[in-house]
């Protein structure tokens, strides 16, 4: 039954996109899971995990330019590539095609806002306890 698997199969640890590469497509995960890594000061920090049915690499379609993060397969992952040309043509003909993408990006912004709020809260607490410590 595996003869019908659409997309491309990546083995565990295989890099699907590299931070800094030119991007002209996005991806939809058909099976498995991938991790999104950002290289900061030579160190790879895991930003997020994405699973079946989720998109990644969509920023390159809208903003152009280079990939802002590296994406790597966690275990075996099957991924379908969406061409920029096909995507933009269809969006032009049928803007509602972007609905799922916008919905998913909206959910990610919500998650990011929550993460930022949590981090700010942690920073506030840290700085308050540092000030309290220095006052003592």
């Amino acid at each position: 039954m595996r003869t019908g698997a659409l997309g491309k199969i990546y083995q565990a640890g295989e890099v699907i996109v590299n931070q800094g590469d030119e991007g002209d497509c996005m991806y939809v995960i058909q099976e498995g899971q991938v991790e999104i890594l950002k290289e900061i000061d030579g160190r790879k920090v895991q930003l997020a995990l994405r699973g079946e049915g989720e998109f990644f690499g969509e920023m390159a379609l809208f903003e152009g330019g280079t990939r802002t993060a590296t994406v790597r397969a966690m275990g075996t992952a099957r991924v379908l590539t969406i061409d920029k040309k096909n995507f933009l043509r269809r969006i032009h003909e049928d803007p509602s095609l972007a609905y799922h993408l916008v919905k998913s990006m909206s959910a990610r912004i919500r998650q990011l806002s929550e993460d930022v709020a949590r981090l700010e809260n942690l920073l506030d607490r840290d700085s308050s306890s540092a000030i309290a410590g220095s006052n003592r």
Binding site: M1, T3, G4, A5, G7, K8, V28, Q30, R90, A98
Partner: protein, 459 residues
């Protein structure tokens, strides 16, 4: 435009005509005749868009066939290829085709001519074309592990809230502006909107011959579809994950393709006056024999049919509260019929939810999507005429093969390869393909290869 829209809505309003307003409202009942891809796509997107608008609709799909059965009961007479454009579009819609539905992912095609064969891979080496069966499989199939595409899509529409009524529609009648649908074994039902997605291989379109609509059914021709059992191992060995297309000089044959699936292969022929003799002439050609095991005879397919296909779209495929979709309306010439069904169904659903359901609304918002396909089909006709001419002239067949082979060997832009790929797989609009063949670089290279062939022949 704004004024025109106002006038249309005003004349359609309950106030001006005494008829119910031509808009879907909360609780509006909608009937869909036919549970194939057009009917399922329409129901799916109608319910999805209604949900976004906070609208609750009651959608009934009239489909007498059981797609979990093999042919002939569940069959939808189709080669069963989902183009890479449609695979991508569906993925963007959140519809990912599972491995239980797609029998084989296709990553290349092999072009066969009497002067040689050539394999062309997708640049990304990715399987983005799906070969599948519309129902469970061919006649005589037992214990299939796969699910048919039509059954899968129908279940997605059901998950959105559509109900399937397993009955054949026997009559459609207007009652106070709405549509009454009758079957032999269910009580008559009145609907606010009727979507006709019956295809062209049933008698359903006859129901609309005597109606007051200006609808005229599409013009059709016959294709030949034959299914052969080879077994998964033989398919892997002889055909692999490639579509096999044939440019052979056989009278009346316009296009031929072999599609490898799980345990079966589908042979699909298009042309004028297709009959069993033409199929056998094709099957017996050495180019076809070379794709099969040496002991394969090919004279006894497990399943065969000569279905009608839409080659010229219907005239005025809409009326007040009625919309004709897919093959019953306007489709794509020869290729990517399921992709055309998806585009038309989505345009119809979006019109019904966001604009209205009068003939004026469909004319203004649904018909343009059909017109785009009709205009594109004109380019398609030119492409297939040229392809047919190439098929008949040995020199041009060699030049096409040479040009594509050079592109595969050397690091040069794949001009001919991409034209052939998009023509054979239905992955790009015909207009794009046609315009690419008019580019000076393409024409010069082709003329060069043709001239080389002529001089080689003379020496």
């Amino acid at each position: 435009m704004r004024g025109q829209s106002f006038i249309t809505s005003f004349t359609n309003s309950a106030f001006s005509t005494g008829q119910p307003a031509c808009k879907l409202e909360n609780g509006s009942p909608v009937a869909v005749i036919g549970g194939g891809p057009s009917g399922s796509f329409f129901s799916y997107f109608l319910l999805e868009m209604a949900e976004r608008e906070g609208l609750e609709l009651k959608v009934d799909i009239y489909e007498p066939r059981d797609f979990s059965l093999p042919a002939p009961q569940g069959c939808n007479n189709c080669a069963g290829v989902i183009s890479e454009t449609l695979v991508q579009n569906l993925a963007m819609e959140g519809i990912n085709l599972p491995v239980a539905v797609v029998q084989r992912g296709i990553d290349s095609y092999v072009m066969h001519t009497d002067v040689g064969s050539l394999r062309i891979d997708t640049p990304s080496h990715e399987k983005r074309i799906g070969a599948l069966f519309r129902a469970a499989g061919p006649r005589g199939l037992v214990n299939s592990e796969w699910v048919g595409f039509d059954g899968h899509m129908l279940s997605l529409a059901q998950n959105k809230g559509a109900q399937v009524i397993k009955a054949r529609v026997t009559d459609v009648e207007r009652v106070d502006g709405r549509l009454q649908v009758k079957t032999r074994n269910t009580p008559p039902q009145i609907y606010d909107l009727l979507s006709v997605a019956s295809g062209v291989n049933t008698s359903a379109l006859k129901l609309f011959e005597d109606q007051e609509f200006n609808y005229q059914p599409p013009k059709t021709t016959r294709a030949a579809i034959h299914e052969y059992f080879l077994g998964a191992d033989a398919i892997e060995r002889y055909l692999g994950s490639s579509l096999h297309v044939f440019l052979l000089d056989i009278p009346n044959l316009m296009f031929a393709m072999i599609v490898p699936k799980g345990d079966y292969v589908t042979v699909c022929l298009l042309g004028a006056d297709i009959d069993e003799d033409l199929v056998q002439t094709f099957i017996r050609s050495p180019e076809v024999k070379s794709c099969f095991p040496p002991d394969w005879r090919g004279d006894q397919p497990e399943c065969q049919c000569f279905p009608r296909i839409n080659v010229r779209g219907a005239i005025q495929p809409y009326a007040d509260r009625v919309i004709f979709l897919g093959d019953a309306g306007v489709s794509r010439l020869y290729k990517d019929g399921i992709g055309a069904a998806y585009r038309a169904a989505k345009a119809a659903a979006s019109t019904a939810i966001f604009e209205g359901i009068s003939a004026g609304d469909f004319k203004k918002h649904y018909w343009p999507a059909c017109r785009v396909m009709q205009i594109d089909n004109q380019f398609g006709r030119m492409i297939f005429t040229i392809t047919h001419a190439i098929q008949r002239i040995r020199l041009s067949r060699r030049a096409v093969l040479l040009m594509a082979a050079r592109e595969q060997r050397e690091d040069i832009p794949p001009r001919m390869s991409s034209v052939l790929w998009d023509t054979f797989t239905g992955s790009a609009p015909y207009r794009d393909i046609f315009l690419r063949t008019l580019q000076p670089a393409f024409l010069c290279r082709f003329a060069w290869d043709l001239a080389n062939e002529i001089s080689r022949r003379e020496t």
